[in-house]
C-alpha cells in the first residue's frame, strides 16, 4: 500500500471513529490481514500484464487498420491502373541505362534521328552509369573526306 492510500485510510478512520489522534500501523495491518494483503499485491502485480495485453491489442487493432488502408489503396491503385489503361500502352521514357541500350530503344532512336540519336542515347546511358564521355559525336566519325560536314540525321 502506498503512502497516499495510507493517508486516505487515516482520514476515513478519523471521520468514522473520531477518536482523536489515530496512528495506523500498516505493518501490523499487513500481518493481520496477510491473505487480503497478498490478494491486493497480486492484483497490483497483475495490472502491468493487463496493460501489456491491451497494448498488444491496440497494436493488433492498428495493424488491422493499416492493412485495411493498404488494401484499399492497393485496390484503388489497381482500379485506377485499369481505368487509365487504354487500348494502347502509355509512353514511359526509358530511364534505366540497360533499357536505354535495348534494341527497341536504339532502333527507335535511329528512326527518330539517325546514328546521331543512337550515339546520344548511348552516351546518356553511360552517363547514368557514371561513366565519362567525350564531347565528340558520331557526326565527327561520319565527316566526309571532301570536307562536307554531314548534316544531322545524315544516316
Amino acid at each position: 500500500m502506498n503512502e497516499r492510500n495510507e493517508k486516505w485510510l487515516d482520514e476515513q478512520l478519523k471521520k468514522t471513529i473520531d477518536s482523536g489522534k489515530v496512528e495506523f500501523d500498516s505493518e501490523q495491518w499487513k500481518q493481520k490481514y496477510s491473505a487480503e494483503y497478498q490478494e491486493l499485491v497480486s492484483r497490483a502485480e497483475r495490472r502491468p500484464d493487463v496493460q501489456r495485453f491491451s497494448w498488444a491489442r491496440s497494436l493488433i487493432r492498428a495493424a488491422a487498420v493499416i492493412a485495411i488502408v493498404a488494401f484499399v489503396i492497393l485496390l484503388t491503385h489497381r482500379q485506377s491502373d485499369k481505368r487509365v489503361e487504354p487500348a494502347v500502352a502509355t509512353f514511359v521514357e526509358d530511364r534505366s541505362p540497360a533499357m536505354m541500350m535495348s534494341r527497341l530503344s536504339l532502333t527507335l532512336a535511329y528512326n527518330r534521328g539517325g546514328l546521331d540519336a543512337v550515339d546520344e542515347q548511348c552516351k546518356k546511358a553511360s552517363e547514368l552509369l557514371g561513366q565519362k564521355n567525350t564531347n565528340v559525336s558520331i557526326a565527327d566519325l561520319l565527316n566526309d573526306k571532301n570536307g562536307d560536314k554531314p548534316e544531322r540525321n545524315d544516316l
Binding site: S102, V118, K132, L141
Partner: protein
C-alpha cells in the same frame, strides 16, 4: 599396367586442357574489345577537341596527344590483337528480341578515335607502315561489328570511313614507297571483300525484329516510342483500338517482311534505279496504308531504312576512291609522274556506276564521282595530295 596407362592418359588430358585454358589471344575478339572498352581512358573535353583537330588535319599531334596515346598503349595493343582474331561474337541475346541489350556503340567510336590518334602520332614519328597497319585495324573493328543488326552495320561502315580518311592522310607520305602501297592495296581489297553487306544487315535486322514483334505489346510500345507526329500517333491509337487481335499483328509483320524483301532487292540495282525503286515502293506503301491498317508498321519504319541506301553507296564510293587513289600513287611511284588519265578497269563511283573523273591539281589529284548523292544533291569529290 592399366594404372600406368590411366596415369599417362590423365596427364595428356591435363596437358592439353591446360594449354587451352591459358590460350591467348582468345578465339573471340569481342572479349578483348570489351576489356579495352572498360580500360580505355576517355579524353577530357579539352583533349577531345585537340584530338578532333588532329584527326581533321587542322593540328599536329602535340605532347598531350602523344601522352594520351601512350597512356592507352596497352589498350591499343589489345585492340590490335582483337582485330586480328577471326571470330567476333558480341554475346548478343537475339532471343530477347526487341529487349536485347545492344553494344556500347559510343564507346566503340571512342576506340576508333583513339586508334586514329595513334595513326597521327605514328605518322609524325615517320613510322608510316605501322600507321597504315592501324588504319587496317580500324577497318577490321568495323568488319567485326557484323551484319546481324542494321545499327551495328551502320557503325561498322562509319568506322570504316574513318579508317579510309586516315589512309588518305598517310598516302602522300608513302607516295614513293611502292612496296608499302602495294601491300596496303592488297589488304584493302581483302577488307572490301570481307566487309559485311548492308543488304544482309537489313534482312537480318528485320528477321530479328519480326521474330520478336509478334508480341502485340512490343509493337504498340515501338509505335509509341518511335517519335511519331501527333497525327500519326492518333492514327496509331485508332488502329490499335480497332484491331486488338493477334491476327492483325501477324498480318502487319507479314506485310513488313514482304516490304523488307523488296527493299533488299533494291540493293541489287544501280544507285539511280535503286533510288527510283525506293521512291516507287514508298508511294505504294503510302497508298496501301490508306486502305490496309496493317501497313502502318511498314510505313513508320520505311523512312529510316530508306536513308541507308545513300549512306551505303557513299561508303562504297569512298572505299573505291581510296583504291583508285592508291593505284594512281603506284603509277606515280613507278613512273615518277602522275598519269594524264585514269587507267581502265579501276573501281567505280557507285553513285553512277561509272569511272571517277580524274584531274591533276597543284597539290596532287582529285577523283570526282559522275553521279550524285540524290538525298542531298551533291557530288562526291576526293582530294589526294602528293608529297613535293
Amino acid at each position: 599396367m592399366k594404372t600406368t596407362l590411366k596415369v599417362i592418359l590423365i596427364g595428356v588430358v591435363l596437358l592439353v586442357s591446360a594449354g587451352q585454358a591459358f590460350a591467348y589471344p582468345p578465339d573471340n575478339a569481342a572479349v578483348l574489345y570489351y576489356k579495352s572498352l572498360m580500360l580505355m581512358e576517355e579524353p577530357n573535353d579539352a583533349l577531345g577537341k585537340i584530338l578532333a583537330a588532329v584527326r581533321h588535319g587542322e593540328a599536329r599531334p602535340d605532347n598531350q596527344v602523344r601522352q594520351y596515346v601512350e597512356r592507352n598503349g596497352k589498350v591499343i595493343k589489345e585492340i590490335v590483337t582483337a582485330a586480328e582474331i577471326k571470330s567476333c561474337d558480341w554475346g548478343l541475346n537475339y532471343s530477347d528480341g526487341l529487349a536485347m541489350l545492344m553494344l556500347p556503340y559510343a564507346k566503340l567510336t571512342s576506340v576508333a578515335f583513339l586508334l586514329a590518334a595513334d595513326v597521327k602520332v605514328l605518322a609524325e614519328k615517320g613510322d608510316y607502315r605501322t600507321a597504315l597497319e592501324r588504319c587496317i585495324t580500324i577497318h577490321k573493328i568495323g568488319i567485326h561489328l557484323g551484319d546481324d543488326i542494321l545499327i551495328s552495320r551502320l557503325y561498322g561502315n562509319a568506322i570504316g570511313g574513318l579508317a579510309n580518311r586516315c589512309i588518305v592522310d598517310i598516302l602522300p607520305l608513302v607516295s614513293n614507297d611502292t612496296e608499302t602501297l602495294q601491300r596496303l592495296r592488297v589488304k584493302l581489297v581483302d577488307i572490301s571483300r570481307s566487309c559485311p553487306s548492308m543488304k544482309a544487315a537489313i534482312g537480318n535486322d528485320a528477321k530479328v525484329f519480326l521474330g520478336s514483334s509478334i508480341n502485340r505489346g512490343e509493337i504498340i510500345e515501338a509505335a509509341h516510342k518511335s517519335g511519331l507526329s501527333k497525327g500519326d500517333m492518333d492514327k496509331a491509337d485508332e488502329i490499335f483500338r480497332q484491331h486488338d487481335d493477334n491476327e492483325f499483328y501477324v498480318r502487319a509483320t507479314k506485310y513488313y517482311q514482304s516490304i523488307i524483301t523488296r527493299i533488299q532487292s533494291v540493293y541489287d540495282l544501280p544507285y539511280p534505279q535503286a533510288k527510283q525503286a525506293q521512291e516507287d515502293l514508298n508511294k505504294e506503301v503510302e497508298n496501301a496504308a490508306k486502305e490496309k491498317p496493317e501497313v502502318f508498321m511498314a510505313e513508320v519504319m520505311l523512312p529510316a531504312i530508306n536513308r541507308v541506301l545513300t549512306t551505303d553507296t557513299r561508303d562504297k564510293t569512298q572505299f573505291n576512291a581510296v583504291l583508285v587513289g592508291i593505284d594512281i600513287y603506284l603509277i606515280r611511284a613507278k613512273t615518277g609522274k602522275l598519269p594524264d588519265e585514269l587507267p581502265a578497269g579501276l573501281p567505280k563511283d557507285m553513285f553512277s556506276g561509272k569511272d571517277f573523273l580524274y584531274a591533276k591539281t597543284d597539290a596532287g589529284f582529285t577523283l570526282t564521282g559522275q553521279g550524285k548523292d540524290l538525298d542531298k544533291d551533291i557530288e562526291q569529290k576526293y582530294e589526294f595530295k602528293v608529297a613535293k
